[in-house]
Point group: C2
Chain length 133, copies 2
Amino acid sequence: MDFNSGAPIYSQISEYIKRRIASGELHPGDKVMAVRELAVEMGVNPNTMQKALAALEHDRLLYTERTSGRFVTSDIELIEKLKLDMLEKETFRYVTTVNELGCSREDARTALDRNFNRLKGEEKESCQQKEYL
Amino acid sequence: MDFNSGAPIYSQISEYIKRRIASGELHPGDKVMAVRELAVEMGVNPNTMQKALAALEHDRLLYTERTSGRFVTSDIELIEKLKLDMLEKETFRYVTTVNELGCSREDARTALDRNFNRLKGEEKESCQQKEYL
DNA sequence: ACCGCTGTGTTAACACCATAGTACAATAAT
DNA sequence: ATTATTGTACTATGGTGTTAACACAGCGGT
């Protein structure tokens, strides 16, 4: 990951993990890696990772069992709602921005298709599996 | 404007003005408001606004005439390139995020349409003109 | 009982962002 | 010449993010 978006790192990590929960890549009830381990994996300080995970706990997407570790919520409804909410939020942000840019709906549609193709092409080339969490 | 995105305010302002230049809402060669004036208008400190405008000057989107004020570049090609670049960058960011969310191209398409309709609806209701710059 | 793992809390240091306030140089208008 | 306006520079302060290096509490396995 690259943390170049200007937003705080802990926040970027929170959003990233949120997406992996929403996508189902992190299964409900699964145990997640330890704070220190995750911190090494993503190249940040354990405190920063702690802050990121704490935010996810606040949203009830993770819960912690005192000494055995952290787990993904088993609340499937919550996860489904999360996914829909994030899609809507991201899309609205995108549409607003692009509209402010003076681009039409058609402009956005073609740009969207072009970038989906670009993405699928990249995925085919570098078939590396993600090993986080 | 609301500055809740986590990114630095000066950076958000830069991007916002960039979009207004790209859209043509700020015409090439036009004079922009004074730093202090703009700062009041957007409710930020003059220093913050200065920083935002300095970033735009670094990109040659604005230039300054020592004592008469700042002006939008007259380089139409640059503006056109800016617009295409920003659309591509925003779209790629959106597509990447949404794909990570586990959403398909169709999911994105319908979400896009829904939000464009929502946006057009809102624009019709509150027909306030923007008075910045 | 001991060791190692877990999460958690604390302190300190450094950098960046945002704000306030002040000051100065150069031009335009009077 | 004087005044107002322009951009620019500087200091200082408070808040937050990031990192580092610790220490502690609770549970499991040996």
